[in-house]
Symmetry: C2
Subunit: 454 residues, 2 copies
Amino acid sequence: MKERKITLTEKEIPEKWYNIVADMPNKPLPPLDPGTKEPIGPEALAPLFPEELILQEVSGEKWIDIPDEVRNIYSIWRPTPLYRAYNFEKALDTTVKIYYKYEGVSPVGSHKPNTAVPQAYYNKKAGTKKITTETGAGQWGSALAFACNHFGIELDVYMVRISYDQKPYRKSMMNTWGANVFSSPTNLTDAGRSILAADPDSTGSLGIAISEAVEMAATKPDVKYALGSVLNHVLTHQTVLGQEAVVQMEKAGDFPDIIVAPFGGGSNFAGISFPFLRYNLKEGKKVRAIAAEPTSCPKLTRGQFRYDFGDTIGMTPLFPMYTLGHTFVPAPIHAGGLRYHGAGVLVSQLLHDNLIEAQAVDQIESFEAGIIFAKSEGIIPAPEANHGIAVVIREAEIAKEEGINKTILFNLCGHGHFDMSAYEDYFAGKLHRHVLSDEEIDAAVSKLDTPVIE
Amino acid sequence: MKERKITLTEKEIPEKWYNIVADMPNKPLPPLDPGTKEPIGPEALAPLFPEELILQEVSGEKWIDIPDEVRNIYSIWRPTPLYRAYNFEKALDTTVKIYYKYEGVSPVGSHKPNTAVPQAYYNKKAGTKKITTETGAGQWGSALAFACNHFGIELDVYMVRISYDQKPYRKSMMNTWGANVFSSPTNLTDAGRSILAADPDSTGSLGIAISEAVEMAATKPDVKYALGSVLNHVLTHQTVLGQEAVVQMEKAGDFPDIIVAPFGGGSNFAGISFPFLRYNLKEGKKVRAIAAEPTSCPKLTRGQFRYDFGDTIGMTPLFPMYTLGHTFVPAPIHAGGLRYHGAGVLVSQLLHDNLIEAQAVDQIESFEAGIIFAKSEGIIPAPEANHGIAVVIREAEIAKEEGINKTILFNLCGHGHFDMSAYEDYFAGKLHRHVLSDEEIDAAVSKLDTPVIE
């Protein structure tokens, strides 16, 4: 029997996160104050985040210790298995070797708790009594609910009203772990009240929910805010999964030529790719890391590298990132985790420096790929993950045409058990490709008034 | 850091299933022909099952080899982890040691593929082109869809119409793996047509769906039928999980005093308990194995041991089992997997011989227990599993009162990701306890016309 899974023991949970900043040839540019356009210092983040997370956000240290308390909670589901995808390879009729890291075994079914747990931990250590956050369909909110419950921190989740009404399961999950879930816009915040005054029937948006969560945190001393992607410390926390994958690939006696991950804000992609990119930056290896974004929200492949707000309404500092403009509203594709206008600062700089690549995949191609995978490997992927799988198939086909044997590794960031309605829509022929025209891209980025970064 | 998970490698997937019949002091009584009341032989099952499964059904051999092809598919998710429930123990303020085997990591989120895979395999080997089965909410149907897809067997699932309409996610899961899912009653079978003729708006029932699936299989030579619990070979297949748990408890340097599992037809309970009961039967150990059934369907604690049909309509042979009568309709509790009128033959004989125990748990107690578990251990259990957790809490409290340290092992048979609406109803105060009155029990069993077995 050929070995399918490379498993690690609890003792092999990494003891450090990898901070790629230390190895980057060009360090990321600083965030700017939106008013003065001057670089902001760490102190500007103090109302929202505890000190240790801010230090990680601006750290240049290569390795950051993972506290034992965090490793202890990680051990509920970590280390996660790395699979050799024998059956998927067979289904593709390819000689390419394909591996995947599977993060769907976590209690919330995705990679999100990798950062939710340390964020809750550092907040607890700093005396935070309550955390606020926003969530769309609920992936991030449920991960943070899981984490806050463990550390006894109260959590208020502002959940976009349309999801709150239409996707109640994630809400029940958050309630089970003791979180308060509010249908946003609420009348609890100035931001929510102003929206409701203008439109009592507002179905909400992620931008509004962020505004509510940030307002609540910024105005109360023992309340902090947490974000599930984009920021440097979030990306760094996710490297725990890639660190495991490095060891697992070694055990498999292999090393990837290509790494693929779906791309929303960058935490999933950073998690799997940064620990391997380290070998490029330091040892001159030539791993290609490919971010798979949706054609409906193609900031990496068609956006511009310029300063922009992290949120839709414009409450955050300005970050140097690939963006379609913070007011861009992506089509309502099922991969909700990929519907973000910008890209994390670290990933943006790496892309600008040609150290990583990106490809855009439409929704139909992504589900076609996901179903080939589900039928061969037996695991039904989350819609986000399907974008990565589509790129794996493309690269396997190119390798076949070229007659070159390659090794591909991708991150199966979550299972699709909460997303079966998306598969239902696919089978019913209700999905659309959602490819943006050049005019739509131009219209989106033309709203930005910050200069393009050379 | 205390070790939380005891993990095994793929090489440690058991090579044999354990058939408890070999060690039972009183062998199970034979099934009877409903017409002649004479014992039936294996040949009576030939229209429905392939020969190798029938041989397993009547086998007296202690060990049955698990084919490499089955172990290969098992390796997608097996071995599953065994956890020491440190945080749950702490939440209960108990000195009892609690362990659980976690089957929720399978691609369908439950233990059901442990038997679906070998059933599909033996059918493939026998040349079966198509399998039919019934499913309620879809747990079993999706496990068999997963398995049939792997072996290239067509699968027709007759899904109870009310679930088909109200719980579409499992249906989409079955479709993803290529199964045909029909809303039962259909107009494809005589059984379905007769029901629809009488009531075109019938919402269906498991009994009707079984009739349709069995009719389709019985009338076509290369079509077979598959069942997800109750039968001997199904229970035997599930011992793969208990065999793993025996090794894992050894690695933990411990041995259970009490084993608990939820009880529907018996496959989950048999899976975890039989490999440990072996030590009782052969070495005189005193492991207590407790089946946790719902108070709304208390066949083990309040039913009678007598011959009864396995299905609601009365198409199967008569089996010697604890039953509430095959026409008994349990209240619509959320633990759909426990809503079965009877108990598997092997488990029934063991209970009759006082070699195992049973306790009934109402729905409210079960969810209260499940939420304590979810908040402490971080994994949200399926509603079925919550019944077992409630019994664990009871036994931990008894041990505390008695001042005795004990070791409890239970089977966490699945995650609750598909059942969050049940948790939502619990939080909304919409659940009821559903405890049957003596009159209701009497009314149910009084419909049986077979003698009670002494």
